[in-house]
């Protein structure tokens, strides 16, 4: 049995994979947060709850309507996105002229309500959600055994992150988004309906969270509390990466996930706080964040 750093290679790579999976979710969620923050200047505390909501939509689609994973992959983010847009239109948009801390507090309340509703009906323990047949089992890569669904998670998260980045950086709609982030009034004076753009952005961010949720369902089980502890870690990721850059948010997510996985190998007791420790260190040496453009 080959060893690396004093432990079996299989175990090492296994933990690294777990880290990469966690990192995939960190990346997707901090991407969503960064997109929403960039346009709306609001920290969406409800992001974790929307992630959980997406997972539950998938679960309920299966339970009530016998709709499986693949359609759920489209439907869950759609539902979460539409609900998000409704919330933005009716309530969130009223907060734009206020101090951004109010947006944080409002979405905090929203998160509590969403979580409260699901906790009420489903308790706090997790519901199982099976991976689709096509992705069941695993593949032997020689140096390690890769569960197929896990591989799928990493693959799709990369596609989603890079796809979103491309859409924002390379398309016309993305240009509207970037310009409106910089100077919303001027973009509106050009004839672009910026309020609608804001609604769509919140919808997109929420949908991203929901999509992450349905991807997560077979990995982490579906539980009303799955989002809340996660969102705090994602906040730390976002402080480390800075929210000025979409790419920065994505890269930081993966890197910190891997860092967490590595810590689990060598110093397991610290694995759930290592990201916070990294955040503290970054605050000392580069307060604006690794990719931060904002102060």
């Amino acid at each position: 049995m080959t060893m690396i750093f004093g432990i079996p290679v299989q175990a090492f790579l296994g933990q690294l994979l777990v880290g990469l999976i966690n990192g995939s979710f960190y990346a997707m969620l901090s991407l969503g947060l960064a997109v929403i923050f960039g346009m709306l200047k609001i920290i969406n505390f409800a992001h974790g709850a929307q992630y959980m909501f997406g997972a539950f939509v998938g679960f309920l689609l299966l339970q009530w309507l016998h709709i499986g994973y693949w359609p759920a992959l489209i439907l869950a983010p759609l539902v979460v996105g539409v609900v998000g847009m409704a919330i933005e239109r009716t309530m969130l948009s009223r907060l734009y002229s206020l101090d951004p801390l109010y947006g944080l507090l409002f979405t905090f309340g929203l998160a509590l309500v969403i979580e409260g509703v699901f906790s009420y009906y489903y308790g706090v323990s997790g519901q199982p959600y099976a991976a689709p047949q096509a992705l069941a089992g695993g593949t032997n890569l020689g140096f390690m055994f890769l569960p197929n669904y896990r591989g799928w998670v990493v693959f799709s998260s990369l596609v989603i992150c890079i796809g979103t980045w491309l859409a924002i950086e390379k398309t016309r709609l993305g240009a509207y988004l970037r310009a409106a982030t910089e100077n919303p009034k001027l973009v509106q004076a050009f004839g672009v309906n910026v309020p609608v753009l804001l609604t769509l952005t919140y919808g997109l961010g929420s949908a991203l969270a929901g999509l992450a949720g349905i991807l997560a369902a077979p990995v982490y089980q579906v539980s009303p509390l799955m989002g809340s502890d996660l969102i705090i870690v994602v906040f730390a990721v976002v402080v480390v990466g800075g929210m000025g850059s979409i790419l920065g948010a994505i890269v930081t997510g993966y890197v910190l996930g891997l860092a967490e996985g590595l810590t689990k190998v060598f110093y397991p007791e610290a694995s759930n706080i290592v990201i916070f420790v990294i955040m503290a260190v970054v605050l000392l040496i580069r307060p604006a964040g690794l990719f931060g453009r904002d102060a």
Binding site: A175, R178, N183, A189
Partner: protein
């Protein structure tokens, strides 16, 4: 005399608590280039922004092409046919030159094509993939004007286009504006540099303390020099 394209009566506007415009009246006829002259702080920029709808605390009337501007949501004003080039130019740093150029949506037929624009502004063509804010001040001003040309707007509101620019660039801007005028564009121009403005303007309005205090055609400019020296301190 034809109907004015833009007609403003009794325009009052507030910046927060400050009462900035005290009843502005002006007209701009189709194809005209009208210049708003005045010292710093009299309300020239405020007038443009109030017409555009960027300032919402306003009273009075403003009609464009027969349509009531005061009730229009901000994003409809461009679609009605008015383009705005702000004092700070508003070039987006997160967009390339080409993206900046293509950003404002086309609101009416009759605008120039990107190729035509690049012919008029060859230096922008050369820098089309650079980051928008990497351009010099003069080039950014060109870009700010150029991007409105694609949109098909009938009227341009220009806020101090020559401010802070070298004489040779100012010359170029004057040429561009003359070209636009030749193509039928109606222009309301805010300027402190009346020597620049006289080359293209048809009429002038003089502004003091948030009101229009005088209006005269370019032909009368020389007779009014004393007044201008008084009011503008030049």
């Amino acid at each position: 005399m034809s109907e004015p394209l833009l007609s403003v009566r009794g325009l009052n506007a507030w910046y927060g608590e400050g009462h900035a415009l005290h009843g502005v009246d002006l007209d701009v006829f189709p194809g005209e280039t009208v210049t708003l002259l005045g010292r710093n702080g009299v309300g020239k920029t405020t007038t443009l922004r109030a017409i555009m709808g960027l300032i919402r605390k306003r009273t009075g009337t403003a009609t464009f092409d027969g349509r009531d501007l005061m009730r229009m949501p901000l994003h409809h004003v461009a679609r009605a046919g008015i383009g705005f080039v702000p004092e700070e130019r508003g070039i987006f740093s997160t967009l390339s030159v080409e993206e900046n150029l293509n950003l404002p949506p086309v609101v009416a037929p009759g605008g120039m094509t990107p190729d035509e624009i690049f012919e008029l502004f060859p230096n922008l063509k050369a820098r089309r993939n650079s980051q928008g804010t990497k351009l010099s001040g003069g080039e950014q001003q060109m870009l700010a004007m150029a991007r409105m040309l694609r949109t098909g707007v009938r009227m341009l509101l220009l806020d101090e286009p020559t401010e802070g620019l070298a004489p040779v660039i100012v010359q170029r801007i004057g040429e561009v504006l003359a070209e636009l005028k030749a193509r039928g564009m109606t222009i309301l121009l805010v300027e402190q540099n009346f020597r620049f403005a006289r080359r293209i303007a048809d009429r002038f309005y003089l502004m003091e303390h948030g009101k229009i205090t005088a209006g005269f055609p370019v032909a009368e400019l020389d007779e009014r020099m004393a007044l201008l020296h008084d009011v503008l301190g030049v």
